[in-house]
């Protein structure tokens, strides 16, 4: 059987099984085992489980459940609302400050919790009603939160980046650092858009007021006294200290990424025990069981994706596809654009974790041959997949928003989100034009990478 036919058959069967609605993990596993049984030596079937175990038993991968635990501990308490309240009090005076406060709160929370949907629901459950109460249009409010939440997979510690580091065999510390510059850039762009759009809605409300006498709450002035502002700090500062402390432990060389995850989750549990009095078994059980549910689901997808790519590479499908892409002799940027377009399309249907593990063996060799820095590409690919979290048809964050604000029409949410998708794509262009936005920080902290070119 020719390579082309085998590759097409493999792709077709994968699509068929996935779209049957079988859970992603089991679809990947059964397609892998099926092709093993037909096209590979019989003995390979005997080592399936050993393969999966050996791939999964990496301590770097297994830091994922612990990062999720850290996020769940912070996300299932009032920490999100308190962080949000503090941001609101400190930025209330700036025009559009409430929207900007929401963006900043999302970014900080994302950096602490490391999960996009968790960020959306933690900040959004307080932020969306507040923004709407203050006269922001529902779509705008929802867009800010949906987009702000995606920062969770870009700012460290990000599950997506952990997987990319494993799949691309790149340094996790370097990847985490490389995500910070673009993350800050995105926060700035989101904040600028929030301010600009606020001015637009404000002017519209003012015109409306002058014409009809319809006073929108958008026009009301608000004020927080200094005492109110400082009163909010004690609940928020410990989490910010935790955030920086964990970073220092990681980059100061005190702890490996997995130890950071363990330490971070314990400290998060300790903080919620002290600040919110969440320490009884019946308080902790929901946090732990939510962590187990999410991490088991994720780790199964990861383990089975690894089996899937093992089969794909044993049958030389990934290598042939990589060679085929190289043979197209696309120009550097055409190659990048084509690959990112495919990532976007896959993002319609698949969670980021499986996109990374399934495509890394196909996409990374051609990119490396074209002279791209794979750490830099990891950041770019992450931003593109982030955009996938908020664009239809399956943008996950949209549904999280729909859950916390059921009365906002999905169409409104999507219209509110589109400007943010544009900003993300703009960021991808900026990082492509100026790669140092991503690479400067890791080069500064960890020394420049020895380039092969």
């Amino acid at each position: 059987m020719s390579m082309l036919v085998l590759g097409l058959l493999f792709g077709a069967v994968t699509l068929l099984v996935m779209f049957s609605g079988m859970p992603v993990a089991f679809s990947l596993g059964s397609v892998g085992v099926l092709f093993m049984a037909i096209f590979m030596p019989a003995s390979s079937l005997d080592t399936v489980t050993q393969n999966v175990y050996e791939e999964m038993s990496s301590i770097t991968l297994l830091s994922i459940p612990l990062f999720i635990l850290k996020g769940a501990a912070i996300g299932r308490t009032r920490a999100g609302q308190d962080l949000y309240a503090a941001m609101h009090a400190w930025m209330g005076r700036i025009p559009g400050g409430l929207g900007i406060a929401n963006v900043f709160a999302c970014a900080l929370f994302a950096a602490m919790a490391g999960s996009s949907p968790a960020t959306c629901s933690a900040i959004g459950s307080a932020g969306i009603p507040e923004m709407r109460r203050r006269g922001y249009s529902p779509g705008f409010a929802a867009g800010i939160i949906a987009a702000g939440g995606t920062l969770g997979i870009l700012l460290p510690p990000s599950v997506t980046m952990i997987l990319y580091a494993v799949a691309a065999e790149q340094s996790l510390g370097r990847l985490f650092l490389a995500g910070i510059g673009p993350g800050v850039l995105l926060v700035m762009l989101f904040a600028v858009w929030a301010a600009v759009n606020y001015r637009r809605e404000y002017r519209a409300a003012k015109r409306d007021f002058e014409a009809v006498g319809n006073a929108s709450p958008l026009l009301a002035d608000e004020h927080f006294s200094m005492r109110e502002r400082f009163a909010l700090l004690p609940r928020v500062l410990p989490f910010l200290i935790l955030l920086t402390g964990v970073m220092v432990a990681l980059y100061g060389g005190f702890a490996t990424p997995s130890e950071t995850a363990g330490l971070g989750s314990l400290l998060a549990l300790a903080l919620i025990a002290i600040i919110y009095g969440v320490w009884r078994v019946r308080d902790l059980a929901p946090i732990l069981s939510a962590t187990l549910k999410e991490s088991t689901m994720l780790m199964f997808i990861i383990g089975m994706s690894l089996l899937f790519s093992y089969v794909m590479s044993y049958l030389h499908i990934s290598q042939s596809m990589a060679q085929w892409i190289v043979a197209l002799a696309l120009s550097r940027w055409m190659l990048l654009a084509a690959i990112l377009a495919m990532v976007i399309v896959m993002g319609f249907f698949l969670p980021p974790v499986s996109i990374i593990l399934m495509t890394a063996p196909i996409f990374l060799p051609p990119l490396k041959a074209a002279g791209f820095d794979l750490v830099w590409f990891g950041v770019v690919m992450t931003i593109v997949m982030e955009a996938g979290l908020i664009h239809p048809p399956v943008g996950l964050n949209l549904f999280v928003i729909k859950n916390i604000a059921p009365d906002i029409a999905l169409g409104d949410i999507i219209r509110g989100v589109i400007p943010f998708v544009v900003l993300m794509l703009l960021t991808v262009v900026l990082i492509s034009a100026f790669p140092s936005i991503a690479t400067a920080l890791p080069d500064l902290v960890m020394g420049p990478l020895a380039h092969s070119h």
Partner: protein, 203 residues
């Protein structure tokens, strides 16, 4: 009407936020379970609850082990050769053991885009076929895990680190988890098959 407004909401999207709120570790026996399977279904609920408790303990234990490893290395200058592996055993064990519970609440995500397009009866057949497919895969995986466990036990295999713990420990957790998952899927297959006989519109 724009495309956006026609998008159907999937029942359970990925993610913490979307996990059934406050569901904790409780689950219910599906009312469509065939009567002869009820004792097994009830037993599974109990076993899954116990296993989730074990998983929670393992999760906290892994965090404690890894945190202590930082402390011992930097303050006591002791070597930390066993911590990583011990944490791996805890987390791999938790992952495999809890998979049956996650399946019981249908928490393993799939692409559900097709289901909203199919007529109800066809969709019930699809669900049954998917469940049977999952069962076939998981049963195969469970069987191969057990042979792996047997090999590791009888040959006394250990990991290749200096601590060299026996490999049957993680393999046992993997086999037990996959067996439990297979039993869970078996019950769910029976439920899905039973649903085929329900009148239209019944749940």
């Amino acid at each position: 009407m724009s495309v956006a407004e026609r998008v159907e909401l999937p029942p359970v999207p990925v993610g913490l936020a979307a996990a059934p709120a406050g569901a904790g570790i409780h689950q219910h026996v599906d009312p469509s379970t065939p009567r002869w399977l009820l004792p097994l279904a009830h037993a599974l609920v109990v076993v899954n609850r116990g296993v989730m408790v074990l998983g929670m303990i393992a999760l906290v234990a892994a965090a404690l082990i890894l945190a202590s490893s930082v402390v011992t290395r930097y303050f006591l200058h002791a070597s930390t050769d066993w911590q990583d592996e011990a944490a791996v055993f805890c987390l791999v064990g938790a992952t495999f053991l809890c998979s049956a519970f996650v399946q019981a609440i249908r928490g393993h995500v799939g692409i559900e885009a097709v289901s909203s397009l199919l007529p109800e009866r066809v969709n019930r057949v699809r669900i049954l076929l998917v469940d049977v497919g999952c069962l076939a895969f998981c049963a195969f995986f469970a069987w191969k895990s057990c042979t792996l466990l047997h090999e590791a036990w009888s040959e006394g295999q250990t990991t290749s680190s200096s601590w060299a713990p026996p490999l049957w420990i993680p393999y046992l957790l993997m086999s037990a988890g996959m067996l439990l998952l297979s039993v869970q899927l078996l019950v769910q297959c029976a439920v899905s098959a039973n649903r085929l006989r329900l009148p239209r519109g019944a749940r």
